[in-house]
Amino acid sequence: MATLFEGFTLCGLVQTQSASDSAIQGIELDGDSDHAVVTDSTRAVTLYKVSDQKPLGSWTVKQGQLLTCPAVFNFQTNEYVVVSDNKVIRVWKEEDLHLDKAFKATVSADVWRVHSAPGGEPVVLFQRGAVRLLDSLLSAPQQPIEDILSEEEKEVIRWSTNIVAEKQHFVLFTTEQKGEHFLYVQRLNPNTLQKYRLEREDSRAPPLSFSASLRDKHINLLYLYPNGCVYQSVVAVQGPVGLEGVQALPRSLRLRLPVGEGELGAASAVALDEAHVAVVGMPHPSARTGKDFLCIWNTNFQTLQADKEMVGRICGQVWCYLGKLFVPHGKALSVIPYECQKSSLASALGKLRHPGIAVSKSSVAIPSWNTLLHGDQPQGPTKIVDSRKSKLRRKSQSAPALTVDQVLELIKTGPVEEVRREVEALVSRGDAQDLQLSVGRLACQLVARSQVETAFYAPGALARLVKTQCLCHSMCPDLLLLALEHKDYFLCQLCLQLFPDIPEVVTCACLKTFIGVPDDDVEMVSLEPDSVSFMEGLVAAGARGGQQNGFSPALFEEDSCDPHHQPKPPQHQDKKNPTLQLEVCPVGLRKAVLLNEVLQTPYSDNLLVPHLKDLNAPQVISIQEIIDWVCLLLDAHFTVLVMAPDAKGLLSNLQSFVKSQVKLFSELGKIEGSLQELHKMKPSKDISQYSIEVIELF
């Protein structure tokens, strides 16, 4: 989920004459994370302390001069840089009082922007596409500047930014030429320039805004069109070497914003992280039009996560620095802190598996949703889980530990106890990166040996491997069956608890075995204590009986005005109340624990349907109850269903059905008055103030 916090006003804005211009040219950071350098559209640069909402300094150029590019901060020299009247570069320090007295240099071509970022030297981008490092430019200001973009073709820069990767420095800019849009990626040191053509949007409208970010060695470019589409294009940092000419830039649709009728005027989208995009200047999907909102959307789920109304005119500008969004609107520049929490598949899957218990176990080694989608490096939740255990174990370790391959060799021949010890040692020390791989290999090897050599069975080592939570059924399909064969119920339980992918056939096999086992055999087995105590509680609660909360027979409604209201005979109610039948648990405690594990594994209806058919008609519940049940299920598992491709058809059908129902009712709402009249016509005789009636009681 993402949150927009209470915002505050950083400064007031002067209204510009023309409606389309903004009062602000740019907002940049300087060396202090709490500072913001705001350049207005005319002559002034102001430095603000954001948390105090107060200016620290302000610099203006003389009347008649004009700032033509937002001031930036040179992180290497702690100086500010700005360009006035396209050609004059001015450099000054915070303690300088007057901009006129500061250093200035006149260059030979018109400057488009100066860009600066922490860790890199400022670069100057000229209007005709050439790029120079600031330092080298200032050492020879009058050096000739080549034209990259041809003047005749009328190719003009629309947007630019720079990105500093670890050792690389990029200048990105987009241009427009005869309705076509291009992206230029200029790498510095060594200098290469790559030109990409943006796919043309059907409406031929130019993109409203661009935003670029660097993520795992790729530059992600996010751009918004007036029809509400937000596209993403990815350019590799290690660009294609030696490719000449114009490349087509592939794009993917990340988000389709509801724009209502018409198109977006001034709007802007900026990527906050992998999954979240902030959009300013769009109407709220459920508010009336004519209001502009700042919204945070989740692009994975296409959901609106947070929104805030922006009062006043929006000029389609938004800046995002260090967890804060800067939005000029109306007569103010607002700073709105935000927070995006990562949504992970793990939490969703956790919900699927153990609704109650999952909380403590939510750090299962299921990679994050973003990882699945974007191929991130696995960040190690497993590491966190295991580090505590491994610390404990490290103390007891003395002998030099074996490598994975050595352990694999050992498994082929070694005795059970030694195998257990070495597996233990390996797992405890293993780092999360390759644990997943090695655990699978170890388990397969162990299972393979047990299958060949019936006398060999290493329950301790297997249990340890399962407990790493790096193992799943598909990695080692024979493990669970082997455990079942050896009547190792503890391992079976672990597998049922921790494997997310046990096929129903195997679940059924487990179920059959568990049911078939005599109670006496199981009662001595040690099982996972939490699940045992849980079952104990359940059995005790069942024995107590009584009506459960939330169960309300229609009878209870005393206020019912129906004079012919007749209760059902009470014996029917007893049948309806399931808890009465759950008085004694028919199986032993440990057996119940095992059966409960089976019940808690994910399964499809293949297992249930044949047995449900055995129910006779009076036991089958009413349509209303089924619908209620389906609604509850949908509500409870919505996040999971939304992600499941299988559920897509059902969900969209349900959605269109609900939509038609809503439409029906809204149409009914229009004739509500007439309907009420009909209603009034019927019981007119009853409304009289007085009547003498005859009743009969029996």
Binding site: E558, P563, K685, Y690, E693, V694, I695, E696, F698
Partner: protein, 685 residues
């Protein structure tokens, strides 16, 4: 069993007034409820929400807020006075002018030592609570703008005050004040001041406020910073109430919703980072929710739509039971309708007037289910406006229709009525005995020769009536020494017995001929809600707030065999599960086996000659019986014959000509007289 001719009366325009304030006393489990007309009602939540006491209103009194200090009840209102109530004599004990203009709020600190009031002139005044009264102590720093709401910090050293556009926190020790500014609403309401209708101050110094811009705001009282704003409605947030353990706050809005906020961790992973999260919304009202209380297991709410709603919190109950059901209290638990059985007259009691009606007449007979043609329409004979400011608290009509009496807090008035044909003349009886100053209950003996008036300390004054004069005879006093007021009084047809019931659940039976106490019925743990003395057997039938029925033989001074049998077998669960008390017990002189009872939703005839229903018996069996043949019927009969044809019943009586009078007041008719709600639920919205 038989046919009855029923006068179905719907012309009693009873209109309850809106609920303005409430205060719950967790110690005694009593809820005090203040209404717009200045009346105060006391409900006993330990005894099935029974409306135990009613203190009648007064024209000049207004109640903005109520507060308990121990067992003492205080109110304050826009008339600028603080009032303490005498809960034994059901009247204000004293009223004190606070000299700060209209008072918006009153609240006591948790120690019960001080009261704070918020005044129109911007002062917060502190009063010390003394043994018998309260005494002004000092003003806190006077502010510009009125003080709308107040809340003490549990330590008693700080007070948060909700004002216009701001909240001020007064520190009683350092005398410092902190100001928290409350935003105005958006759009058009930007120019309007925000009224902070309600604040609560929690022990961790969190302040929660509700205001007229529809916001619930959470503030950190240490730093004076706003922590969170929840916009809950487009209209006003009017009332706030915090649970005893401070883990939950409920707010009431103009839309009629009650919204619960709970102090919980937003995610299960981070149990320590708790915050106030909006959790549930209840919609049980159509209009402003002006008064709220979150008690141990339920949310109690009331407002403009006049009904008191008790919404149990289901997570606090392990099992579904009677206690976990939603309860709405719409009608008073006492009689407002009196019937002269011989004369066929009805007396309706309003706070400001009495109305006397003559019932209509019809020709001939009809089949069950028919409406008979009217020969004569009902007629309003009299509209008697009360004198003085005090509202009417009780009234009585003699069964012959010749006498009428009413009492306010300050006086009793007795009238002689004479009807010949269509003319009615009313004469006020001039000189009443001095001792008869006010009464909690009034009743005439069945031969109209005596008037009984329930007076203080459960005593009863006996007044003899004759054409020429009325004379004080005697005061009947209970032996128990109870100081509680009498809320029920009934006498026997033969004029020998008088039974009274008081809020201590005591029932006394007096021998009126000998003018002495005859016996005390064994005290039962639930308050009697209705009782009556049988015309032939002189058995006293009592129905209690917990729905139990007892029959006591006055002559033998013991419970009757039928009553013992009923208690042994137990009442049917469906009878016990009803949620409105029986408010009237009457008998059929022609058929001594029959006891007639009613509550708001049903009318019941108990036939003592028939077997009692056990739990397996179909309890509501009238439909079944109707469908059976005459031969099959007797085997299905049981004693409780319940008719639900008539709803929203205020009174049921049986006239001497064997016809029933059912006075209905449809809730729809009450709703239709309310002002339009701010928001109406429409289809598909």
């Amino acid at each position: 069993m038989g046919e009855f001719k029923v006068h179905r009366v719907r012309f009693f325009d009873y209109m309850p007034t809106a609920i303005r304030a409430m205060a719950f006393n967790a110690h005694t489990e009593r809820l005090a409820l203040g209404r717009m007309d200045g009346s105060v009602e006391i409900f006993n939540f330990a005894d099935h929400y029974f409306q135990e006491k009613v203190i009648p209103g007064k024209d000049s009194r207004s109640i903005e807020a109520l507060c308990w200090v121990g067992g003492r009840l205080f109110s304050a209102g826009l008339n600028g006075e603080i009032t303490e109530y005498d809960l034994e004599n059901l009247r204000p004990k004293y009223s004190l002018e606070a000299y700060g203009g209209p008072i918006w709020t009153i609240t006591s600190n948790s120690q019960g030592a001080h009261l704070a009031i918020g005044c129109e002139d911007g002062t917060v005044k502190l009063f010390e609570v003394l043994e018998e009264s309260i005494q002004f102590e000092r003003n806190l720093d006077r502010q510009k703008g009125r003080i709308i709401s107040l809340s003490w910090h549990p330590s008693g050293t700080q007070i948060a005050a909700g004002m216009m556009d701001m909240i001020r926190v007064f520190d009683a020790v350092s005398m410092l004040t902190t100001v928290l500014l409350v935003d105005r609403g958006f759009g058009g309401s930007k120019s309007r001041e925000t009224v902070v209708w309600s604040v609560v101050f929690l022990s961790d110094c969190t302040i929660i406020s509700g205001d007229s811009a529809g916001k619930v705001q959470v503030w950190d009282g240490h730093t004076g910073t706003l922590v969170k704003t929840h916009l809950v409605t487009k209209w006003d947030v009017l009332a706030l109430s915090v649970s005893k353990d401070e883990s939950s706050v409920v707010v009431g809005t103009s839309e009629g919703t009650v919204i619960q906020f709970q102090f919980i961790a937003p995610t299960l992973q981070q149990q320590q980072d708790k915050e106030w999260v909006r959790t549930r919304t209840f919609k049980n009202h159509t209009h402003d929710v002006r008064a709220l209380a979150e008690i141990e297991t339920a949310i109690v709410s009331g407002g403009m739509d006049t009904q008191l709603v008790v919404r149990p919190l289901l997570e606090k109950f392990d099992e579904r039971s009677h206690a976990s059901a939603l309860r709405k209290i719409q009608f008073p638990h006492r009689n407002l309708v009196f019937c002269a059985k011989k004369a066929g007259l009805l007396l309706f009691q309003f706070p400001g007037q009495l109305e006397l009606w003559r019932l209509g007449e019809s020709d001939g007979h009809g089949k069950p289910g028919d409406s008979l043609p009217l020969k004569r329409k009902p007629e309003k004979l009299l509209h008697l406006k009360r004198k003085g400011e005090d509202h009417i608290c009780c009234s009585a009509l003699s069964s012959c229709g010749g006498w009428l009496a009413y009492s306010t807090m300050s006086s009793v008035r007795l009238y002689r009525l004479q009807t010949d044909n269509n003319d009615i003349s009313i004469t006020k009886v001039p000189k009443l005995p001095k001792i008869l100053r006010s009464a909690h209950q009034l009743c005439f003996s069945s031969d109209s020769s005596k008037l009984f008036a329930a007076s203080s300390q459960s005593s009863v004054l006996v007044i003899a009536l004759s054409q020429s004069e009325c004379k004080y005879v005697h005061t009947l006093k209970p032996k128990s020494g109870s100081r509680q007021p009498i809320h029920l009084m009934t006498n026997s047809v033969d004029g020998k017995w008088l039974a009274t019931a008081n809020s201590d659940c005591e029932i006394h039976v007096y021998n009126v001929q000998k003018l002495k106490l005859h016996c005390i019925v064994p005290v039962y743990g639930s308050c009697p809600s209705a009782m009556g003395i049988h015309p032939t057997t002189n058995n006293l039938t009592m129905v209690h707030a917990d729905q139990q029925i007892f029959e006591y033989s006055i002559v033998e001074k013991q419970y009757t065999d039928w009553s013992r049998k009923l208690q042994k077998q137990g009442l049917h669960n469906l009878w016990l599960d009803r949620d409105t008390p029986v408010t009237h017990v009457t008998f059929n002189p022609k058929n001594p086996e029959q006891i007639l009872l009613h509550d708001m939703h049903m009318f019941c005839i108990i036939d003592q000659s028939l077997p009692l229903p056990d739990q397996k018996t179909q309890f509501y069996n009238q439909m079944t019986l109707r469908s059976l043949s005459e031969q099959e019927r007797p085997s299905h009969l049981h004693a409780f014959k319940i008719c639900k044809t008539f709803q929203d019943l205020l009174s049921v009586s049986l006239l001497d000509d064997q016809s029933l009078v059912m006075v209905e007041r449809p809730l729809l008719a009450i709703t239709s007289q309310l002002p339009a709600p701010v928001r109406q639920k429409k289809f598909a919205t």
